[in-house]
Subunit: 200 residues, 2 copies
């Protein structure tokens, strides 16, 4: 773009966002310049604040503004139950569902030896220390139902063998509101295997 | 999101970008926090610079850092030909094609009385002044081939009636590399009407 180095730099920087290529970055930059200068300035301030101010919670590893995040500091949450998730967006999904009222531990990833991500990188030692030290009675392994997620869950379960902790995994089955014709075979098999009496 | 006001504010601000909803904004925020803090800081600086520093070129109305944009200041461009486009992205597309070497005028929109956008709002008086004052011999009306774009082109042409200026419009036809089976009827009719001898 020959006409403005400032616009050039804005378009280039917007490409650091996931899923944003050259054309989308251009559209975003022009939109902000034409109709959204206020929004652009607010975004600049928010980015600066978040990039320098957001850290990891000392207790659950989730993003937080303070040493201990709001969820960990909340005294209403049951501390005997600990739910292990791979990412903050998984935690958000569970929070939005509104059913779970225990504590969390966010791995910020999953075991992936090929990418050099071992137990150390995702804080499994810290998780084990919490389980042993805080009197956790149930550990819900809510990692994703992918190969890496399953491996991570099994690794954690193995490390806790012999401890007096109930280890659970989320149920597999047909999504509520889903149509049988569109559910894959693995899920259907799981749903059959896990079938329940109607009265339940 | 209960866990961090800074992250909340970042997600909310990202939604000012076009085509970005709640989920995408969350994904972008988490991506920047997890893997792209450098990029996020660069984006914050670029946004701040562009939102406060980018203005309109006094000559062509395009975005510019200075009073006169680089394209208008470039002495190698022919000033006798003026190409009228609706937006900076149209100008960019023409520049990237590399064929045109004249000057531009960017309307930053099109006539749309229903939205309260008249000749005043898109700077048509300034365009006419330039055409009359700078010895423009050809005016290429490269507004989009939409109802509003056509109306804008016709309005400009009407206002210049009787002036000694050649007024042209970009040719309609089959896109290069396109397949006939996928070209719409209007375009095909235009292509037939505008057919040329093979030797041309």
């Amino acid at each position: 773009m020959a006409f403005s180095p400032l616009v050039d730099e804005l378009v280039e920087s917007l490409r650091c966002l996931p899923g944003v290529g050259q054309k989308t970055a251009q559209r975003m930059a022009f939109h902000l310049l034409e109709r959204g200068r206020g929004g652009g300035e607010r975004l600049a301030t928010a980015l600066q604040g978040a990039m320098s101010g957001v850290r990891r919670c000392n207790s659950c590893q989730n993003f937080a503004d303070t040493e201990i995040c709001n969820l960990c500091a909340d005294e209403k949450r049951r501390t005997g139950t600990l739910c292990v998730v791979e990412s903050p967006s998984d935690l958000l999904a569970i929070e939005q569902a509104g059913y779970y009222d225990g504590s969390y531990f966010v791995l910020m990833g999953h075991l992936s030896p090929i990418d050099g991500i071992g137990p150390q990188e995702i804080g499994i030692e810290q998780l084990l220390k919490r389980v042993r030290g805080e009197g956790v009675t149930e550990l819900i392994l809510a990692t994703n139902p992918t190969v890496e997620g399953e491996a991570t869950a099994h690794y954690i379960a193995d490390r806790l063998e012999g401890q007096n902790v109930l280890i659970t995994r989320l149920a597999h089955g047909i999504p509520v509101g889903g149509e049988l014709g569109y559910v894959d075979g693995f899920t259907l098999s799981h749903a059959f295997r896990g079938r329940k009496p109607l009265a339940d």
